[in-house]
Symmetry: C2
Subunit: 345 residues, 2 copies
């Protein structure tokens, strides 16, 4: 690592001039600036970001916390955060809580002391714990809203409404809904959306409860669906829906003839299974990018916006129901008219 002193020596100037020539070129004569720049280039000099960070109090680093990298939803969010941060000249620290809410405060605190801003994706802790852990570090939430913190999430309630509307139009009148982690904010939002939409469309919603947001959780959910007598299911996410599909097939329950299945997220695998999964598409990478935009607005001085945005801005990105075979029209059998509506109601 070459330091500013070596550059100064080579250019025959002082270290402060080196700093100035590089940071505020206009405050230095053209000729010395040229000399400094050349010396710097020849030595491959790059100011040490750690030292800069110490002096300026800004590290030009952002922190990202996710519950699980192996969940494609968060992989995409990570990608989005990463891309936008880099474009703005920020490095990104990451931490994976392994879906363990208890570990979150420590992880957040560990990140917080090294970064200028924090992105927390679907934190599982309570509002109070999250607020305590971030302290006074600028923070943006993803897929979670909470008073006092800006956030960007998909419109979960609307997504659920679209899903139920779709199922209703296909003739379903009794629909099961499986939730993810108890502590999932978006899960709660969807349940609320489901209740509203249920009334609007006149469908009965059966809450199956809370399950692991993975393939394995779906295996369990599938049996509940069958037992519930519902003719359709909306799963917490695509991974869970895939587990449902698998178990249903194993039990000889046909999809969509006997039961229709809707996922959430539209991660890549949704199209790779058979039948392809109908799902509520979230703008995955955009969640991450938007979060960084919000964060940098705060980190780099609120003065950018003349009128000043509200302290905790809440962004809701639109979602889109993507209809595929798992709720589709079955050629040979015609529209799957659920027998459930005859049995119940």
């Amino acid at each position: 690592m070459t330091s500013a002193r070596e550059v100064a020596q080579r250019a025959g100037v002082s270290v402060s001039t080196v700093s100035r020539a590089l940071q505020s070129p206009e405050r230095v004569s053209a000729v010395t600036r040229e000399r400094v720049v050349r010396a710097a280039r020849e030595l491959g000099y790059r100011p040490d970001p750690v030292a800069q960070g110490l002096r300026l109090g800004r590290t030009r680093a952002l922190g990202l916390l996710v519950p699980d990298f192996e969940n494609p939803f968060f992989a995409s969010v990570t990608k989005g955060v990463q891309a936008r941060a880099r474009a703005a000249g920020y490095a990104v620290f990451v931490a994976d809580s392994d879906e363990d809410g208890v570990a979150e405060p420590d992880l957040v605190a560990g990140l917080a002391e090294r970064v200028d801003g924090l992105v927390l994706a679907s934190p599982r802790s309570t509002d109070r714990v999250v607020l305590g852990a971030v302290g006074d570090v600028p923070t943006v939430l993803v897929s979670r809203e909470m008073p006092g913190l800006p956030s960007v999430s998909a419109d979960d309630g609307d997504g659920m409404a679209q899903a139920l509307g779709h199922l209703h139009a296909l003739g379903h009148r009794r629909v099961a809904v499986a939730t993810g982690p108890e502590s999932s904010w978006s899960g709660a939002r969807r349940l609320a959306g489901a209740a509203q939409a249920a009334e609007r469309f006149g469908v009965e919603v059966v809450e199956l409860g809370s399950f692991a947001p993975h393939f394995s959780g779906g295996l369990v959910v599938a049996d509940h669906v069958v037992a519930s007598g519902a003719s359709a299911l909306v799963a917490f996410n695509d991974l869970m829906a895939l587990g449902v599909l698998d178990r249903l097939a194993a039990r000889g329950v046909r999809v969509p003839q006997d039961v229709s299945v809707v996922g959430f997220d539209d991660v890549g695998v949704a199209t790779l299974v058979s039948p392809a999964l109908t799902t509520v598409r979230q703008p995955l990478a955009r969640l991450g990018r938007t979060a960084v935009d919000l964060l940098l607005a705060r980190v780099e001085g609120t003065s950018a916006e003349p009128t000043g945005r509200p302290q905790d801005e809440v962004v809701r990105l639109p979602v889109e129901l993507v209809s595929r075979a798992s709720t589709g029209v079955v050629r040979e059998a015609g529209l799957p008219v659920p027998g459930a509506s005859e049995v119940h109601s």
Copy 2:
């Protein structure tokens, strides 16, 4: 952020005593240590890692570069790196090159100046470029070997041998192999392994060429397989294999009756498709964990090992062929005996 000075004041000692009491408790009297520790706890003091980094020349941060977070292979590696680094008290910077080898040197350089060590997963650049970019920062490679740098990768050659052995045992005599990015080191290794195994088993290997390591690449590969007259395919990775499966199904080519398909990696989705994918399982998270172990041995002083390990240690983790339906025995039809062997050879 509370600083050491405030703790010192509250405890009635000097800042150096605060530092000592926390870093080397035995060099401080029991009573003052107690006072300092209590003051620190009361103020919620945590030494600023940035300042520590500047002073000590160690940031207690590691850098990780991957070609694509959304590729589940790298998501798992990231998870492994993350977990091990955290356990050792290191934070992790990440960067995603988007499979763009040209961007790599800049990304690596950007990471290098902030970290104590680097993990480079499947870097796409040439040896010279990689070595230049890392400079003198301790570095470990994942899924890539190169003179001068330690590395941990799966035994790709053996994996390919297991795949071909399996296919040979099932009666296949003409097997297509599709590679990933030209610059992929493991792809080259597998081709080499294929050549060896081909001779050993007496199977003919048809090299289809280089394709995108995604689902979309597989769609293209499928047509090549059919055109090649091979009765089986080994794809570069599971994602590609899934694309092949999809396209084959669309063309009415049955798997495994008409063509058998083998993937690589055993990422989660391999079991979610129908037919389930036979694949060469890599110890994904372990790749990441082992890389960090190697790295920390270097970063924290080679003296840990009495005799001193070789400067560039090369670790090859074993792989395991997992046989599933995509090469499986077909109940109704018996063993899929490829017609290819009658047509050719």
